[in-house]
């Protein structure tokens, strides 16, 4: 029983990683590099959007991603009783 519990925990962990890393890839490589020219036609105030992602936006999202990960994992640890006191 305990083995399957660990498997379930691991599977959920991998799911979180897949989602968070997709966002990581999207904001940096997709928005900041691959489609930067296309996004640069859109303007947000003084910034061209693609340029903003490459020099500002991606970094903000990175920080948020880690804090979201911490929250998700803390909840998951508790759910499975793997949290440490």
């Amino acid at each position: 029983m305990s083995a399957s519990k660990e498997k379930k925990y691991w599977y959920k962990n991998l799911k979180y990683l897949a989602i968070l890393l997709s966002i990581w890839f999207l904001v940096s490589f997709v928005c900041g590099i691959i489609f930067v020219e296309e996004l640069n036609t859109i303007r947000i105030g003084g910034f061209k959007l693609g340029f903003w992602f490459a020099q500002q936006g991606a970094i903000y999202v990175f920080v948020i991603l880690i804090f979201v990960y911490i929250r998700l994992m803390n909840k998951l640890d508790k759910e499975f009783g793997f949290n440490e006191k």
Binding site: G32, G45, F47
Partner: protein, 561 residues
């Protein structure tokens, strides 16, 4: 008071602080020496990691690099921050659960092989030494520019300070000094940035001033694009490198960041797996403060520079121009003898050469800020260089005393003996680093950037596969790491040092620069590791049990031998 007096005062105060902390937090055991006793709070570890990570290059050179490369400079911003997402999600929590002292510890145990351990020790020392030489040089440069002492004297002063607190305090001393150093360096970076942002856009937050307008209501970024166009430069907001190269360089910097041993070991210093995750979050937050400000400084200083000097009479230029001309970091050559400065993209007509480091170092002077702000920048640059140097030296010393001596050569060495060995190794490492700082070999500058490629090509796949694939065995990991690092070394030597027949830009494989090649070498490592491991025996049961164990956060316990 003059800039020099202010600099002596601020450098004196900060150095006294660092030494005071070192004496207060001396290491008494190997555990304290390698992982600060394992009880550092996540917040303190986040601060220390940020200082450990941000080197002389981040503090002094990065804003200037972006200033001259515009959009192309984004590779550093995304690469050196995005790596922390990988570190937090894929490495830090599991390595903390594993609970040992060094990265080669993990590689050696997970791949049940001293060959794997030796390859890891070799990579760790190679990466760390190329990196540390640049830091010592940075210390020397700051001393020579701001305090007008000889560069070599500056390097030696830096060596003595690092020697004192790294050798005495080990990881424990380094950690708490780095906390102080982060505070010094971020304050020193932000104060001039805020002043200049207010001057240029009226907005005190540089990140917002970045998208702000000048006194005529024109967006600064548009204004600079216009100036660039007039002078023949590529538009600031769009780059000149190929998309493929930008992609691969960014990736190499990200995966390299996640594979740097001196950053990874910082996560061994906290108590629990939860704390390792939290430290990564804090670390990136503290790093992001500098990394989102830097591109704003790049924009401000670039605009300022062009507006101040372009097509102006040489005789009427402000005083800072002459000051920095004396240091050789600004060079003016009136080619057409009209007495004016022509700053143009066209190399034949261009009359002005500006070193990238000036963008941060001279920025306060260009903006006419008070002397204490200028002195503060010097203290901040020193904090950035010293904190990174100390972290790297510790990796080198632990690789020698722990991974080589304790784990391979003489396993019976006493705790006390190992501690002495660790301190001796640190002393030798400081001296070697100092030697390279005084006599910088030509390849240092080239290899610092490539240290990331090396780390990405060697450590990242071995560690990630070690955690996420139970099937990965020693044959796969050893061959994978060897292929990755050899490919990277070969490419670097061929195109950077002209060995193996050399080659020019046209000869690059698939048009990939040596800086971006780390990504390809890393992919080669992954492919070789996976294929070889599937054709060779499965890893032993105990090892599979280790992997199962590190995947579950509870019961991390304390770091042990």
């Amino acid at each position: 008071m003059s800039i020099q007096v202010w600099t002596w005062i601020l450098v004196g105060i900060t150095f006294t602080l660092y030494i005071g902390i070192a004496i207060w937090s001396r290491a008494g055991s190997t555990k304290e020496f390698y992982v600060a006793g394992g009880g550092v709070s996540p917040l303190a570890n986040g601060l220390a990691t940020a200082a450990d990570w941000m080197s002389a290059a981040s503090f002094i050179s990065m804003a200037g690099l972006i200033s001259f490369n515009g959009y192309d400079g984004s590779v550093y911003l995304m690469g050196w921050t995005g790596g922390y997402v990988l570190l937090a999600l894929l490495l830090a929590p599991y390595l903390r659960k594993f609970g040992k002292f060094t990265v080669p510890d993990f590689i050696g145990d997970r791949y049940y092989s001293n060959v794997a351990r030796s390859v890891a020790v070799f990579c760790a020392i190679l990466v760390s030494f190329t990196y540390v030489a640049g830091q010592m040089r940075g210390v020397g440069l700051v001393f020579s520019r701001f305090l007008e002492v000889d560069i070599n004297t500056g390097v030696i002063i830096g060596m003595i300070i690092v020697l004192f607190y790294a050798v005495l305090g080990g990881m424990k001393g380094i950690t708490y000094t780095q906390v102080a150093q982060y505070c010094v360096l971020i304050f020193a970076f932000m104060v001039p940035a805020i002043f200049i942002s207010i001057q240029m856009t009226g907005n005190p937050i540089p990140q917002l001033g970045f998208g702000g307008v000048d006194e005529n209501g024109v967006y600064l970024l548009d204004k600079l694009d216009g100036l660039h166009k007039e002078l023949g430069f590529a538009a600031y907001t769009s780059g000149s490198k190929s998309t493929l190269d930008i992609f691969l360089i960014t990736a190499a910097l990200m995966f390299g960041t996640a594979g740097l041993p001196h950053v990874i070991v910082r996560f061994f210093t906290v108590k629990r797996v939860v704390d390792a995750r939290k430290s990564a979050g804090w670390a990136l937050l503290f790093i992001a403060i500098l990394y989102t400000t830097a591109p704003a400084i790049s924009l401000f200083s670039r605009t300022n520079l062009i507006e101040t000097v372009s097509n102006k009479e040489y005789e009427t230029l402000p005083k800072w121009f002459g000051n920095w001309e004396k240091t050789g970091l600004i060079k003016f050559d009136d080619k057409n003898n009209d007495g004016k400065v022509q700053y143009l993209a066209d190399v034949v007509k261009n009359e002005l050469i500006v070193d990238k480091d000036i963008m941060v170092l001279a920025n306060p002077e260009i903006a006419g800020l008070p002397n204490w702000v200028i002195a503060l920048v010097a203290a901040g640059a020193l904090a950035a260089a010293l904190s990174t140097a100390a972290g790297l030296l510790l990796v080198i010393s632990a690789s020698v005393s722990h991974d080589l001596i304790k784990k391979m050569i003489n396993p019976n060495i006493s705790e006390k003996g190992e501690l002495v060995a660790a301190r001796l190794a640190a002393v030798v490492a400081v001296c070697v680093a100092g030697y390279f700082g005084i006599h910088p070999p030509d390849f240092v500058a080239a290899t610092v950037a490539l240290a990331f490629g090396l780390a990405a090509a060697s450590f990242f796949p071995a560690i990630v596969l070690g955690i996420f694939s139970k099937r990965m065995n020693k044959e796969g990991a050893i061959l994978g790491m060897s292929v990755g690092i050899l490919l990277m070394l070969f490419y670097m030597m061929k195109f950077k040092f002209d060995w193996f027949g050399g080659g020019t830009k046209e000869d690059w494989w698939f048009g990939v620069s040596p800086e971006g090649f780390g990504t390809l070498a890393m992919i080669a490592n992954f492919i070789v590791s996976i294929i070889v491991s599937r054709c060779t025996p499965v890893p032993p049961k105990e090892v599979v049990a280790i992997v199962e164990n590190i995947r579950i956060p509870s019961g991390a316990g304390e770091a042990t031998h």
